[in-house]
């Protein structure tokens, strides 16, 4: 949780900043990334998510493709939040975010800038946009855990 109260105008600024200047929107330049494709039937969103894990820690997270503002900003902020976290913490962050979007009780202390999406459910058609990067990362991590028999 940021140490200050997020005002609507700050929330807008954060969303627009990540939309106009995404930090993690690129294809990996090295090997060693796991990737999954994310796309939507009700929005144009269509991108790949790339994750590099070492010893259970997410060393890097990138994405590349076409996406609307909500999808772009939420996926970019996701990358910010999970880099250098171990995968179980990343899963925890993702679950808290999905709870927030689903209007259930959630732990806001781990969501930082992702809190700007708290109102997404006001535009039901965009809930999928706000969550597709997150559910895709969850799938990559869980696939990996299944592969290693869980831990």
């Amino acid at each position: 949780m940021p140490t200050f109260e997020l005002t609507p105008s700050m929330m807008r600024e954060i969303i627009m900043d990540h939309y106009q200047n995404p930090r993690h929107k690129e294809k990996p330049s090295q090997d060693g990334y796991k990737t999954l494709h994310a796309s939507s039937t009700n929005c144009i969103d269509d991108f790949d998510l790339f994750v590099k894990e070492e010893n259970g820690v997410i060393k890097d997270a990138l994405w590349d493709g076409v996406a609307c503002t909500i999808s772009t900003a939420s996926t970019d902020i996701l990358c910010d939040l999970v880099i250098n976290e171990d995968s179980s913490k990343a899963l925890y962050i993702i679950d808290q975010y999905l709870k927030m979007i689903g209007e259930q009780p959630y732990d806001e202390s781990v969501l930082d800038e992702a809190l700007v999406f708290v109102n997404t459910s006001k535009q039901a058609a965009r809930i999928h946009c706000a969550t597709m990067g997150w559910t895709t990362l969850k799938e990559i991590i869980e696939q990996d855990e299944d592969h290693h028999g869980g831990h």
Binding site: M16, I44, D45, C68, T69, N119, K122, Q123, A125, R126
Partner: protein, 408 residues
């Protein structure tokens, strides 16, 4: 002249509009589906209130009357598009019509035969052809589009060959709204001995369509885009072609006899394409819709929509913050983007103002590279659309930069 104010009273969704995001609904997504007048709702519910029975299935009066009703709807369709009632096959919609046609036509295709479509076709006029090309070894060719999406006779001529068996094109494009010169294209296609299929989903509801005049071999359209119910549509075919067309769906109601050795003796067209219980409430609703539309007049509808289109284009141009992709097209579709605002974000903002517009690729995923943008906003009009609806759209577009307001 259309008195849209009077007409709107006939539509429950317009006379008592539902609220969307706290605003009375502004319906500008008519290319996607249309609203239903009370007479259509009454026709549909009458099936369940006082007319429930199957057709072709019994000896009692209710059942007989359902057969009569079905034929009356065929007659209404035949008046709408100027064909014979026995050239009208009921389907679930344009997609179903095109899929069924492709299924039947695949038996006549050989490896290397050619099917011509265009980059502006809706998925339902692309994917069925991809499927049968995969199975038969036929080749898909794309006729070149002009910048406005139109197909010239010359471009079609360049694409046609002795191997062309099928040309399948939309009369009105569902993204750019361009109206193709179908009659000339058909004549040219016939010189090569190929059949011409018209995807009429966006034309039949919006302008006079005369299949005899066009001389097309098949034409498909959907009931729900012409103020009728969902799940009912039409496949028109020249009777001789329907007679020769292979079966695509079999079961009860489409055969005269079948034998132990596996032989099926199909009923005559159109019954041979109508296996199983038909969408009877849909058939009743479709007739009510067609009668309603014809009373208003297709010429009047086309004129009204074009007038609104011109008005919308002028007003959006005045704002100076948008790019319009089909300003000069004479149908009721405006396709545009607000500068620096992603189409889907803009559509969400419009939603927050109670305005229903479509954004994205509109199921014509091959077209976007052609028009040079991954997604667009589409506002589409009908005879009940008013200038006030467009004013509300323009007002929202003028504030497009503030699209994140939708979330706050």
């Amino acid at each position: 002249m259309i008195d849209e104010k009077l007409i709107r009273k006939e539509f429950p969704m317009l006379s008592n509009p539902p609220l969307m995001q706290g605003h009375p609904l502004v319906w500008l997504d008519n290319a996607s589906t249309t609203l239903k007048p009370q007479c259509v709702l009454d026709a549909v519910s009458s099936y369940y209130i006082s007319r429930t029975s199957n057709s072709h299935r019994g000896d009692y009066d209710l059942c007989y009357s359902m057969d009569v009703e079905t034929e009356l709807t065929r007659k209404a369709v035949s008046k709408l598009i100027n064909c014979s009632p026995n050239e009208v096959v009921f389907t679930s919609g344009t997609t179903d019509s095109l899929n069924r046609l492709a299924q039947s036509l695949q038996y006549s295709l050989k490896k290397g035969d050619e099917i011509i479509i265009s980059l502006s076709e809706h998925a339902s006029n692309v994917l069925p052809w991809f499927q049968i090309a995969k199975h038969t070894g036929a080749v898909i060719k794309y006729v070149e589009l002009q910048k406005d999406g139109l197909i010239t006779l010359e471009n079609l001529r360049k694409t046609l060959s002795k191997r062309t068996k099928i040309v399948s094109l939309a009369q009105v494009g569902n993204v750019l709204g361009q109206i193709q010169p179908i009659k000339e294209l058909v004549a040219e296609t016939h010189k090569f001995g190929a059949i011409f299929i018209v995807d009429g989903a966006q034309s039949v509801p919006h302008m006079p369509v005369d299949v005899k005049d066009l001389d097309c071999d098949f034409l498909c359209f959907s009931g729900h885009k012409i103020c009728g119910p969902t799940g009912i549509g039409v496949l028109y075919g020249k009777y001789k072609l329907l007679e020769d067309l292979e079966l695509n769906s079999v079961g009860g109601g489409m055969n005269d006899k079948f034998y132990l050795d596996g032989t099926i003796k199909p009923s005559k067209a159109p019954a041979k394409f109508e296996a199983g219980t038909q969408n009877l409430e849909g058939i009743l609703g479709l007739r009510a819709a067609i009668e309603f539309i014809m009373k208003i007049g297709l010429e009047n509808i086309a004129e009204h929509e074009h007038k609104l289109k011109k008005y919308a284009v002028e007003r959006i141009k005045e704002l100076g913050n948008s790019v319009i992709y089909n300003a000069d097209v004479k149908s009721g579709i405006v396709t545009f983007n607000i500068n620096d605002v992603f189409a889907q974000d803009a559509a969400t903002y419009l939603n927050s103002k109670g305005i229903a517009c479509r954004s994205g690729q509109h199921c014509a995923k091959l077209l976007n590279d052609f028009i040079g943008t991954p997604a667009t906003i589409r506002a589409s009009f009908y005879f009940y659309t008013t200038k006030e609806d467009i004013d509300k759209l323009v007002d929202a577009v003028s504030h497009g930069k503030e699209f994140l307001d939708a979330y706050f």
